[in-house]
Amino acid sequence: MYDVMIIGAGVVGCALARKLSQYNGKIAVLEAAEDVADGASKANSGIVHAGFDAKPGTKKAYYNVKGANMYAQLAKELGVPYNPIGALVLGFSEEDRATLNTLLEQGKKNGVKELRIIERDEILALEPNTNPEAVCALLAPTSAVVSPYEMTLALSYHAAQNGVEFIFDCPVTKIYEEHDTWHVETPKGVIEARAVINCAGVGAAALHNQISDEPLTIIPRRGEYYLLDSTVKCPFSRTMFQVPGKMGKGVLISPTAHGNALLGPSAENIEDGTDTRTTRQGLDFVLDKCRLTWPKVTTRPVITTFSGVRAHPATDDFIIGPVHGAPDNAFEAIGIESPGLSAAPAIAEELGEMVAEHLKLPAARFVRPAVPLLKPFAAMTEEERSDACRKDADYGRIVCRCEVVTEAEIRDAIRRPVGAKSIDGVKRRTRAGMGRCQGGFCSPRVMEILCEELHCSPLEITKCGGESKLLVGTLNEIAKEAERHE
């Protein structure tokens, strides 16, 4: 029996796991997918928002600003790429100026520092590639970018180092309370816990509505993106927003924490929260909107397109705390759409404390500090590279030539707690396959290393878990199969 069962290994679930790992208790994270950050946490804009968007008094506003203030320290402690590059919200009319003024006032009320309105000259001086038709902009110097999946991974690593158990490929089929114990039915059996925390993203409403007599609605909202090659310098050094619309903050152009240019997202309400396809309309919409910010927008250096599905709450605000209308010891952090990434550390801090207090979990006497992530070979100096090779010969073997990722880093990504089990798992942990060739050269070798480390056949290796197998059989097997068909 667990003390706390966290359902969902996105950035909120992993941040909560890390927070609760600082108490004496048996904590587990259940995840339907094969890895952490499989949903919205891996496919979002990666912005730590300054906090001027949300209406004062909302949970979004409160947790956004509080979370954003925690980021620099947290990213440093965990060794996650984070860059406080600032942001501009562009206005193209006097009507837009009024909106920007509202944002400015909201931001001030929310406690955001250093916000101010700037005029065209200053915009063009700061960001020369901006459309010169922009008349004014809100400058938010405290806005930052972070690598969202690496943040989620690092939170999970630190949680695991302090004893949190991660159970993957484990979707919850049923959840109920009986004799003061929560029962969670999964394909791996019934798992019991004193308390549950629902952090299930787009799947959270389904769980909530099983245990509460106050049902709620989460609307899956898909956003599509273009990612450009890192060899092409991002035309902007800050995150470039346009004035927000009904469906959110609108389309942005921003350098990622790794320096690639990111264009997106679109915003489209969909039925199926797992439907992460991209569409011609969605991608064209992004390009079209980007043209307003960046008239010379080009997709020539595109290396990939992707989409993420945000969990949009019908109430338009985060839902955080004990589950209303449910038996005791059920908690939730749901409807965590943007600015959820920014808010996650603060949500974890407060909700984690609330849960620990409620269960009377004592603070752990010793909390292991986060083991710093290996410095990427690509970021090392010549001397550091030379030293690394002397200590571990596997550094001498470059597997991903585009991103310069070594065999040592790939083996580490598989061996560490909450290690990679698939090609995409290795990619998110090491950047192998994230470059220009998109894994064309390195995926066969990554597959071999996965087989060696996990003691399995190449036929079992998947792209991202489940039935996403990369190979269908040996040459002999398939040839024989074909003969039988004839």
Binding site: T305, P444, E481
Partner: protein
């Protein structure tokens, strides 16, 4: 402690067909210290996985498989005592020809070369670069990756296949997958013509009744975890899909053969000027790049159709790199070579006119298919030669020799232009 930097006269990066030929030629030209660095565990490059035949018709007057073709050069290199170091990845090339490389055996090593030959080859354009909408499921491979799985690892990536792009690797894989028991449903090409060799269309598609859909493309990709199908549509003259022409294919594999890109990250790091047309270095007729002493040849310079051409070009690069290392500097005036009508990416982009003239091959690809057109070389607008060609197609590299007589005729010219013209130029 001694300076661990390894001094070498000629350093060749890559032991594929280009690097091997360059090394052989450099050795023949009398270079003593010569090292070839190869990131894979064996020399041979991409030829190792090209187990079909058809290589070497020009050079050896016989049809060899890829590994056989490579082995001839590997054997020659070995007989000549050329030092080929495998499992070594070059990390950087400086404009001073200082090269850093890393290997499991020796860790980080620094080489100081007198001349460097860039022979790193090319890579395939991935799905992302096309921004094809749809899901991001398993089952989508570049044709070369699939070829590696099948020919080197012995595994099949799928059973029912659609191929996007009619580049040579895609065509070859259509046949290969069919022979191995897979069903290839279609080969889909965006352009109104194939970008592959004509012989491959016949031998790899027609012989196996695999339909080729010209002016079509994949507009959607279906399947949650593994590919379950693709939507193909006809495109108009602006390459935009035409609504109502959609065809659904149920398949578990999509192979992409949508173009090759010279892999020039190291070259860019060395400050080598790159051509936006070829994506390779801008070179003179000696294959020297904009950085003195750095030479480029093979698919890293421009994407070739035949390996025979790669070898030929690389012999010249190797010989010139050797001469440079021995201190033979060339004196002469540079004449730029320009793309005229119908011509894309002529290489070399400049010719150095010296006292002693040696024949130069101008190589390029036509920008579309031309029938019964004239291939004309101009010096300052005056035709030097104009010859009728029955067919010129982007799938096949055009090799236009400039002999000594032609070179002598343009000794004082300001520029040379190659063009495809409907009429004979006089």
């Amino acid at each position: 402690m001694n300076d661990p930097t390894i001094q070498v006269e000629v350093l060749v990066i890559g032991a594929g067909p280009a690097g091997l030929a360059a090394a052989i030629a450099a050795k023949k030209a009398g270079v003593d210290s010569l090292i070839v660095l190869e990131r894979e565990d064996r020399p041979g490059g991409i030829l190792r996985q090209c187990i079909h035949n058809g290589f070497g018709l020009h050079r050896f007057k016989e049809e060899l498989t890829g590994p056989e073709y490579a082995q001839r050069d590997i054997d020659t290199a070995k007989e000549m005592g050329i030092d080929i170091r495998t499992g070594v990845t070059v990390l950087s090339v400086g404009n001073d020809k200082r090269v850093t490389a890393v290997s499991r055996e020796n860790g980080l090593q620094v080489y100081q070369a007198k001349s460097v030959v860039l022979a790193m080859g090319c890579r395939e354009r991935p799905r992302g670069a096309l921004a094809i909408p749809g899901t991001r499921c398993a089952g989508i491979y570049s044709a070369g990756t699939a070829q590696k799985f099948v020919n080197l690892e012995g595994f099949m990536p799928g059973r029912k296949v659609v191929i996007l792009g009619s580049g040579d690797i895609g065509l070859i894989m259509a046949r290969r997958m069919t022979l191995q028991g897979a069903k290839v449903l279609a080969c889909v090409e965006l352009m109104p013509y194939s970008s592959g060799l004509n012989r491959n269309i016949v031998q790899c598609l027609q012989d196996y009744n695999i339909p080729l859909y010209l002016s079509h493309t994949v507009i959607d990709i279906h399947g949650k975890e593994r590919l379950s199908g693709v939507t193909v549509a006809k495109v108009d003259e602006n390459r935009k899909p035409i609504p109502g022409t959609e065809i659904e294919f149920e398949c578990d594999t999509l192979l992409l053969s949508v173009g090759l890109i010279p892999e020039n990250e190291l070259s860019a790091g060395a400050g080598v000027e790159l051509s936006p047309v070829t994506s390779g270095a801008v070179v003179s007729d000696t294959l020297e790049t904009s950085v003195p002493g750095i030479f480029a040849c093979g698919n890293v310079l421009h994407v070739h159709d035949l390996v025979d051409h790669v070898s030929n070009e690389s012999f010249r690069a190797g010989e010139m790199a050797a001469r440079y290392a021995k201190g033979e500097r060339r004196e002469g005036r540079e004449i730029p070579v320009k793309d005229g009508a119908g011509v894309r990416g002529v290489v070399p982009q400049k010719i150095v006119v010296e006292e002693r003239l040696t024949e130069v091959n101008l190589m390029f690809r036509p920008d579309r298919v031309y029938r019964d057109h004239y291939l004309t070389v101009y010096a300052d607008g005056k035709p030097l030669s104009s010859a009728k060609k029955m067919i010129l197609t982007p799938g096949e590299m055009v090799v236009q020799p400039m002999n000594e007589k032609m070179l002598a005729a343009c000794k004082d010219a300001k520029e040379i232009t190659v063009a495809i013209t409907a009429e004979k130029a006089v």
